[in-house]
């Protein structure tokens, strides 16, 4: 806001005039003191009596008034609209008088006095001021007039300075009010996010070590953090609650297949992470993957651990996980098939697992319908006149023929330009059904009386072309990994030499056991016995 103000010429000249006013006031004081031995600073206010008493004369009984109203609004025309309103509220700027004025040398004829006269207000004794109107004869008492000039100039200047200070003060106050609002507006989500991303980036390990697909935080070839342009580091609010694993795969709130890893945090959280783990924010998690600690839930008190100088923290760990392996986990809220897991030992419920048309089945199709018991599937249930067979043929599993069917609506939606059924969204995946039957196999002598257990969630199912893969957004291509959150216990141990070990485990006991092993190895290495 102030920067904006300084670009305005009038504002600049106003400031300059203000400075020159100050100079002029001090000049007046100096000259009056040196030449006339009078301390002008004792004069208070625009009181003509005071001046008279200084001059010891009754000739000057009326003080010239200056019309200042015209000076108003010169600034306000040139300022921006937002400031304009505030300017209108300001007192009349006095400085405009001075803009075109060379400040007078008081020993000479004062242009200021001509200014006074030009206002047109008559003084009581006009002859004394004849020269002011261009007259040739000088009648006045030179010293007295000069001192009058100086004293009046001092008073006027001081008054102007006073007013301009009030004016400036009010302008600045209003500018600050505006600036405060603008500042608040600028501290929008983006600003805060960028700042927080900066904090997060400074916390995260450098990218040099992370250019491999082994990195759990890699998503589709790109790191899941640190790229401001992709803004992959998303921030958690305090009220953030981790989603269950399964919810990540399917909820639109999490962005479906495109969801991002949430990483922290408030500044205090970041500091705490830095304090506790320093640079060891990345730990091993399940599947030999590496996860990033993004939240310390609490420090766990454990007697066994504290005896050995180990501190244990309950933390939240995030990482990307392959979609297929994600499907294999149930979170606490993720048990879909109630009849199966409730222990209802009824044959009819088992059949419902693959019954098309059952709402429950459709819902669980997304992440769940991966293993099918072929014996319990009857093809007549699956294919009727309304449906289109999208693909059928030999599968990669010997002796099993697969048929993919869908309703006409889905089929027409998923047709591409070439007239082929190609892409399948997760939304549409519910409408696609897969049935399998056994065929003769030349390579293997298969006993068809025993049921076959088949995994169908893989990208690859048919030998020539694969279509059915439940739960993936676009078949096989886009969903390579999903963000996962997990609560893990992290044990931290620091040796006497300052060496640190950070090991995680799924429980306190596990973390403790893991770090004991590490510590043992560390000690053995240091001793160099073996």
């Amino acid at each position: 806001m102030y920067k904006l103000m300084y670009k305005i010429e009038d504002y600049n000249s106003f400031l300059k005039a203000n400075i020159e006013l100050k100079r002029a006031v001090s000049n007046c004081v100096r000259i009056a003191r040196d030449k006339y031995g009078v301390d002008l600073t004792e004069i208070r206010g625009f009181d003509t009596d005071t001046i008279k008493s200084f001059l010891g004369s009754s000739r000057y009984n009326e003080y010239p008034r200056v019309k200042l109203k015209e000076a108003r609004g010169i600034l306000s025309e040139t300022l921006t609209n937002s400031v304009k309103e505030h300017y209108k509220l300001c007192p009349i700027p006095l400085f405009t008088l001075m803009l075109s004025t060379q400040f007078p040398d008081f020993t000479e004829r004062s242009p200021l006095r001509t200014k006074f006269a030009s206002v047109g207000e008559k003084l009581s004794d006009s002859t004394e001021f004849e020269y002011l109107h261009g007259g040739k004869t000088e009648y006045y008492d030179g010293d007295a007039a000069a001192f009058y000039d100086i004293a009046s100039a001092y008073l006027i200047y001081k008054s102007m300075l006073h007013d301009s200070r009030i004016y400036l003060k009010s302008v600045h106050a209003r500018c600050e009010a505006i600036a405060r609002e603008e500042h608040r507006a600028n501290r929008s989500f983006d600003t805060i996010r960028l700042k927080s991303v900066g904090i997060a980036e400074s916390l995260l390990p450098s990218n040099n070590n992370w250019d491999s697909v082994f990195n759990p935080l890699y998503k589709q070839g790109k790191p899941g953090w640190g790229d401001r342009h992709n803004s992959c580091v998303t921030l958690m609010s305090n009220s953030y609650k981790p989603l269950p694993l399964h919810a990540y795969a399917n909820s639109s709130a999490a962005g479906g297949g495109n969801s991002r890893l949430p990483f922290t945090l408030s500044g205090s959280e970041a500091k705490r992470l830095k304090e506790v783990f320093r640079d060891d924010l990345v730990i091993n998690v399940a599947d030999n993957k590496r996860g990033l600690i993004n939240r310390i839930i609490e420090q766990v008190e454990d007697n066994e651990a504290s005896n050995e100088g180990i501190s244990i923290y309950k933390t939240n760990v995030i990482y990307y996980r392959n979609f297929n392996s994600l499907c294999k986990f149930f979170s606490e809220g993720g048990l879909r098939h109630s009849s199966f897991f409730n222990g209802d030992d009824d044959d009819s419920t088992r059949l419902r697992m693959v019954n098309k048309g059952d709402d429950e089945v459709r819902r669980l199709n997304r992440g769940y319908r991966d293993f099918l018991n072929i014996r319990s599937v009857s093809s007549s249930q699956l294919i009727n006149n309304k449906e289109v067979i999208v693909q059928e043929g030999e599968t990669v599993i010997p002796g099993i023929k697969g048929t993919v069917s869908t309703d006409r609506l889905t089929y027409s939606k998923c047709l591409n330009d070439g007239g082929k059924f190609q892409e399948l969204n997760s939304y549409d995946a519910n409408c696609v059904d897969l049935s399998m039957e056994r065929v003769d196999c030349k390579e293997w002598d298969i006993d068809t009386t025993k049921p076959a257990v088949v995994h169908t969630s893989r990208e690859v199912f048919f030998k020539d072309r694969s279509l059915v893969s439940t739960g993936t957004k676009t078949l096989g291509a886009e969903v390579s990994s999903m963000p996962v959150e997990e609560i893990r216990y992290v044990a931290v141990w620091e040796s006497d030499t300052g060496h640190r070990e950070v090991v995680s485990g799924t429980s306190i006991k596990r973390a403790l056991a893991n770090i004991r092993r590490r510590i043992r190895n560390d000690i053995v290495e240091n001793l160099n016995i073996f």
Binding site: K222, A286, F371, P398, I446, E486
Partner: protein, 161 residues
Amino acid sequence: MKGIAESVLGLQCLTNGNLLMTVKRDMYFKPYPRTKLNVTDRYVLNRAMYTGVVPESLKSKKELIEAAKVSNLVKTFECNITYDEFFKSIKEILLKNGFLNQSKDYIKGLNEAELWIAVTYAGKPSDDDTKFTDAALNKLIAQTIPEEHLSFFEPVFCEND
């Protein structure tokens, strides 16, 4: 569930009673910037790798064909265990380690597919009990797979450039 069992695509019974297992090898690509493939190419290449058939649209691309030489990523072989014994062992694992607080009678009543679902799907990542189930299952599968196919369970890392 993770580890070896994750790669299993199909379980069937041969006439001699042995278990016929179809497994898949995991494939990973080196990420950007070394990868020159777009998503579509990668998708098609994936397909080519699994099925062993390189589609005509890909044949003009030399690098893709080179990469597709890591073919035959789905393998079927006969195991050292019979079909019945295999599922019996799984049932024993479940009975020993428990399955989501279900009763033993319930576990005994499961059929083969449900047993497989139970033993592979029931794991929660932070549940200690299922870790034992995982370990036991991995051990079981490792015992049943012929030695020459064990390498099949190691993932392949494929460079595209």
